[in-house]
């Protein structure tokens, strides 16, 4: 019987090639019209990584320009456009869709034991909406570029030259892609769980993605209407954000951050979700405080809606509002802290296996702790007045977004790669790449904390000579970081040249359901409907292939 079959968790024997979602009906047309969540996940992965590469290259250019205090090879207008593009591409085209749309699409239905997401055609539509938004953004870039920063603050954004309107509409369209994904995931988690899988048997990745999807659904429409109003202001001067005509430019900031602060949690919650799945698997220990981590995701999502004003301490909003927003901002630290301590408690006395995904998870713990704690500095009004618009802010959100989300994302790719392609990468080289990323990242951004606290403003293309030593350090760090990332990508891609599926179905000895099917999975994910028999982190039982409920169809 299937129930009694056990397999060694570290089995890496070569399996004969089987017909799977990659090889079955493998034509270009079939890929472009697919409604299979796994193929869509891979297509998203390819798309977001391309934009990560472009925006990363722009970042290296910016760092190169900042190597010396004077102008090197960019003028100020070019510099403004390049940092705007770096930010806008990273946020809207890479980080926001990265974990949910790429990894979430691939992993979520597998984890739930489902055949697909709730609305497969909506999923395909969401990919093409994303592509449309991406093309609009690229046209805006080619058509002269945008110099407003990714935040599009009025009145500058409504008066400056260039295709700002097109870029804003691109953001609007990309928002719809994000909404579609969110709707899909919420409905999937509610209705497509395997028999026996209650809310508290869900893998924590699912909890995190679920909380993220709720924010995507509830925050993104406000960004959409804000973008529309801004475009209307540019095109027809409707006056809503124009003080001369009776409007209010600060209203734009409120609208923008009402979305964009929750968007910060759209970015970080999926990162935390990945970490919550990697840590127990590589500690071989049941998750400590499972419910605490699950509920903390949802409470971060909730509190995230109430703190947008902390981006506006210097905008002239009332002192009372600032004080309330500062207080609410501190509240976010509680669920974040709950997560950190529970992850550490999970690792405590576990059988820790320092393989590549775990190295990324531990990098995440350290980097996110720094990023999160410096957020408290910025949430304190008096300190924020000093640090506002300095490199301290730049370093803070890079520690959270890059050191948090992106590191977790890359860790997640390393973790699920053998499931996606059935092939294992060279672990030694992957681990070296991880170390390079970790070191390069810290060299780049620790320097920025120091110069920011001494008053180096952000978004400046030239600077005073006393900041040069930090800038030189930061630029050298960016080279190490860039090299590490390229190396990680190379190691992963090199594994695809293998002829055989050598990874095994469950190379890490995990207990969640996606590891119970073959690697790479078949088109319908499982042979029949799998049934849940043990918790997601129940390492007392041996991992087994999926058991199937007979006659459910």
């Amino acid at each position: 019987m299937a129930n009694t079959v056990t397999s060694s968790p570290t089995k890496t024997g070569t399996a004969p090639p089987h017909l799977n979602y990659l090889t079955e009906n493998n034509t270009l047309k079939a890929w472009l019209t697919t409604v299979d969540h796994k193929r869509l996940g891979l297509m998203y992965l390819g798309a977001v990584m391309s934009f990560f590469f472009i925006a990363g290259a722009l970042a290296l250019l910016l760092r190169l320009e900042l190597l010396t205090p004077k102008q090197d090879f960019m003028d100020s207008a070019t510099y403004n456009k390049v940092f705007t593009l770096h930010g806008a591409i990273m946020v809207f085209l890479f980080i926001i869709p990265s974990v949910p749309a790429a990894l979430g699409n691939f992993v979520l239905p597998l984890m739930l034991g489902a055949k697909d997401v709730a609305f497969p055609r909506l999923n395909l539509a969401s990919f093409y909406v994303y592509c449309t938004g991406a093309v609009m953004a690229l046209v805006a870039i080619i058509g002269g570029g945008v110099d407003t920063g990714w935040t599009f603050y009025t009145p500058y954004s409504t008066t400056t030259e260039g295709p700002v309107g097109l870029m804003a509409m691109a953001v609007f369209v990309l928002g719809f892609s994000s909404i579609f994904t969110g709707i899909n995931f919420v409905a999937t988690v509610h209705k497509l769980r395997a028999p026996g899988m209650g809310w508290f048997q869900l893998p924590l990745f699912v909890w995190g993605i679920y909380a993220t999807a709720l924010i995507q659904v509830l925050a993104t429409p406000v960004l959409g209407i804000t973008a529309v109003l801004m475009v209307m202001e540019r095109a027809f001067h409707i006056g809503i954000f124009d003080a001369r005509l009776g409007g209010d430019p600060v209203l734009f900031q409120h609208f923008f951050w009402f979305y964009s602060h929750p968007a910060v949690y759209i970015m970080i919650l999926p990162g935390m979700a990945i970490i919550s799945d990697i840590i127990p698997v590589f500690s071989k220990k049941t998750m400590f405080g499972y419910r605490a981590i699950g509920f903390s995701s949802v409470s971060i999502a909730f509190i995230g809606f109430l703190v947008w004003g902390h981006h506006m301490f210097t905008s002239g909003q009332s002192d009372l509002a600032s004080a309330i927003f500062a207080f609410l901002t501190y509240l976010v630290a509680i669920p974040s802290g709950i997560k950190i301590w529970n992850w550490l408690a999970t690792m405590y006395q576990g059988s820790i296996d320092l393989r590549t995904p775990m190295l990324y998870a531990m990098s995440f713990l350290l980097l996110f702790a720094i990023g999160g704690l410096t957020g408290l500095y910025l949430g304190a009004i008096s300190v924020d007045i000093h640090l506002h618009d300095t490199y301290f802010v730049v370093a803070h959100f890079h520690y959270v977004m890059m050191g948090g989300t992106v590191i977790a994302f890359i860790g997640g790719i390393h973790y699920w790669w053998p499931k996606m392609f059935g092939k294992m990468y060279n672990e030694k080289l992957a681990a070296i790449a991880c170390w390079l990323v970790f070191i390069g990242f810290n060299v780049t951004f620790l320097n920025q904390f120091m110069m920011g606290s001494q008053g180096m403003p952000r978004r400046y293309w030239t600077y005073l000579p006393e900041f040069q030593r930090y800038h030189v350090g930061s630029t050298i760090g960016s080279w190490i970081l860039g090299f590490g990332l390229v190396m990680a990508a190379g190691v992963l891609l090199a594994s695809l040249r293998k002829k055989e599926y050598d990874a095994g179905d469950n190379p890490w000895g995990a207990r969640t359901m996606e590891w119970e099917t073959v690697s790479p999975p078949i088109t319908h994910n499982f042979e029949g409907q799998p049934v849940l028999r043990h918790g997601p982190y129940d390492f007392r039982v041996e991992p087994t292939p999926a058991t199937v409920a007979g006659g459910r169809h």
């Binding site: 019987m1 299937a2 079959v5 397999s7 489902a114 055949k115 697909d116 709730a118 609305f119 497969p120 909506l122 909404i179 969110g182 709707i183 899909n184 919420v186 409905a187 509610h190 209705k191 497509l192 659904v217 509830l218 925050a219 993104t220 429409p221 406000v222 959409g224 209407i225 804000t226 109003l229 209307m232 202001e233 095109a235 027809f236 001067h237 409707i238 006056g239 809503i240 005509l245 009776g246 409007g247 209010d248 209203l251 609208f255 009402f258 073959v518 319908h524 042979e527 029949g528 409907q529 087994t544 292939p545 999926a546 199937v548 409920a549 007979g550 006659g551 459910r552 169809h553």
Partner: protein, 224 residues
């Protein structure tokens, strides 16, 4: 490894309802799933309009006199007529869902036609209102050319008026398109008591469009 052998063949749909998609186990699950999706979509709609409502509220608070004097350019009778038209259409929509649930094909088609008729009436009334504003020069933003007696910032009122009723009008038009599609499908006999999900979901959407107008009407037409 023989453990993957299973008794259930997941591709045999012979005994299934033809409307059941392959990744659902039963019709009820599919129906509930679609409903969740629709409610979430409606939540996004509420937030989309919510931004505009908040903006309107703030601007009204800053320029109460200008808003009051600007609203006299609107004809509350037209607004009231449209409110009634939409309320009736919501009722016929409910009847359409009920007709589908009770397998009453004729009533389903009749109620869909009535709903579409009401929606079109709404748009015609709106057209007359808009063309009246056009002749007075009370258009939004750069096209505002009204020269009669008015207060500062009155035109912000019209910016909001056209943004909000315009966005609502787009939603009504989208509703008409969807309802026409349902009508064509209903004539082919696509809906019955065991499968009426599209009718039900469109009904939910239509009630929301109606509800938004119920808030727009007093905000613009009845603020004195």
């Amino acid at each position: 490894m023989s453990s993957h052998a299973v008794t259930a063949d997941h591709d045999s749909h012979a005994h299934h309802d033809p409307n059941l998609q392959h990744h659902f186990a039963e019709m009820e699950q599919q129906f509930e799933c679609s409903k969740i999706g629709m409610w979430l979509f409606l939540a996004t709609e509420v937030l989309l309009f919510g931004g505009l409502f908040v903006g309107y509220g703030l601007m009204q608070g800053q320029h109460p006199e200008a808003f009051k004097s600007a609203h006299h350019h609107l004809d509350w009778r037209m607004g009231a007529l449209n409110t009634i038209v939409l309320l009736v259409s919501s009722f016929t929509m409910v009847m359409a869902v009920w007709s589908a649930q009770t397998n009453n094909q004729k009533a389903l088609i009749r109620n869909l036609i009535l709903t579409i008729g009401c929606a079109c009436t709404f748009m015609v009334v709106k057209y007359f209102e808009y063309s009246h504003k056009y002749h007075e020069g009370l258009l939004p933003g750069a096209f505002y050319s009204y020269t009669g007696p008015h207060q500062n910032a009155e035109f912000v009122f019209f910016s909001f008026y056209f943004m909000m009723t315009g966005l609502h009008g787009i939603h009504v038009t989208a509703g008409i398109v969807v309802l026409c599609y349902l009508l064509v499908q209903a004539r082919k006999g696509a809906y019955n008591a065991s499968y009426y999900t599209p009718i039900d979901l469109t009904g939910l959407y239509w009630h929301l469009v109606d509800l938004i107008w119920i808030y727009l009407f007093p905000l613009f037409y009845l603020i004195s």
